[in-house]
């Protein structure tokens, strides 16, 4: 393998790119859900969000 080939690193195939894109979208959706969940729970609980009795 030439030095020029090494510089390119790993080149993804189209299938690998599609798989990576779908995983990235899923991670983004999960993070948005988490943000919305924390936002809504803060609205629901108000100042009580900091009170967590056993």
């Amino acid at each position: 393998m030439s030095e020029q080939d090494n510089d390119k690193g790993i080149v993804l195939t189209e299938a690998q790119k599609r798989a990576r894109r779908s995983r990235s979208i899923a991670i983004a959706v999960s993070l948005i859900v988490l943000v919305v969940l924390f936002y809504m729970m803060t609205l629901v609980k108000g100042p009580m969000i900091l009170v967590r009795p056993l």
Partner: protein, 312 residues
């Protein structure tokens, strides 16, 4: 550490992943997850006291994600035996679509998030129970009992029985006898359910070296154990009615379905051929039985309270 070597399934670590979102969903065992969410919902619905619908949704989401995390960690650890059984050979890790390390990282990340979010947004008891459930399923059942004793699914069944207790704890922040009774129903339901399956998948388990009861103790002894556990299960299934936790509707449904369970267990006991219809019937009906018990309990007992909470 997993018993399999990473290279066995996937080549080098530097190889880019081909895993799709569907593979990661499969890692979470969605069918098991749906039963967990349903039983947790019933625990949540029958619990006394108020819970905001958003809090209830958050609790169920965390329980679902925790169950999914357990499934992913189970598939990471069990990939070597999954590859040997027809029922599990097409799972993402043995197929090589997800690397064992990826399944481990996915499961650990989901576990931490599910427990932390449940503790921060709902309550600490529910979070502690969820953490214990994940630990019990992965460390006690998957890593220890499953490969070492024919009582694996009896003791390990406790992991599947915790969700109604978590649902109850999410509402009340405490526990009482009623959620423990729901726990006992699932606990005693698990052996007849899984042993019925194991009876017609004995060759699979034997090939993988999993010491399921039919592999170790034989066909006849397993059939007897199924019958005995069903004799215990049926009255426990009815118990919420005489104990005052449910009304006559539940009592009637639990009695009829419990009688059918006993009848099917007797058929399994009397049938002598190794791979039989009776086992498949018992396995299939046992799922319907558990669903009916919990659904009717929710309608009979919890539905009114749940609607009142949602409209309050």
């Amino acid at each position: 550490m997993s018993l399999i070597s990473e290279a066995e399934f996937n080549g080098t670590l530097a190889e880019p992943s081909m895993a799709s979102v569907g593979d990661y969903i499969a890692l979470m065992k969605p069918r098991v997850m749906s039963l967990v969410v349903f039983t947790a919902l019933v625990g949540l619905a029958v619990a006394p006291g108020a819970i905001h619908p958003v809090t209830a949704f958050t609790a169920l989401l965390c329980i679902a994600v925790g169950a999914g995390a357990s499934g992913a960690l189970n598939m990471w650890y069990d990939a070597d035996i999954d590859a040997l059984m027809t029922r599990t050979a097409r799972r993402p890790v043995p197929m090589g679509r997800v690397k064992p390390g990826e399944a481990l990282a996915f499961g650990m990340t989901l576990s931490v998030f599910a427990v932390a979010v449940l503790g921060l947004l709902v309550n600490l008891l529910a979070a502690a129970l969820l953490a214990f459930t994940i630990f019990f399923y992965v460390a006690i059942y998957t890593m220890w009992l499953k490969r070492s004793t024919p009582q694996n699914i009896v003791i390990g069944g406790a992991a599947g029985a915790f969700p109604p207790m978590i649902g109850w704890a999410a509402v009340t922040g405490s526990l009482s006898f009623e959620p423990i009774l729901l726990f006992l129903i699932i606990f005693f339901w698990t052996p007849p359910h899984f042993w019925a399956l194991a009876l017609y998948k004995t060759a699979d388990y034997a090939r993988a070296g999993v010491p399921m009861l039919p592999v170790v103790a034989g066909d006849a002894h397993t059939r007897l154990q199924i019958l005995l556990y069903t004799f215990v299960l049926a009255p426990i299934g009815i118990a919420p009615w005489p104990l005052g936790y449910a009304g006559p509707l539940y009592g009637v449904v639990a009695s009829i379905t419990g009688a059918i369970m006993v009848m099917l267990a007797v058929q399994v006991f009397r049938e002598r051929r190794p791979v039989e219809r009776a086992c498949r019937h018992l396995f299939a009906f046992s799922i319907l039985y558990l669903f009916l018990l919990f659904a009717v309990l929710m309608i009979d007992r919890g539905w009114g309270g749940l609607i009142a909470r949602l409209t309050a």
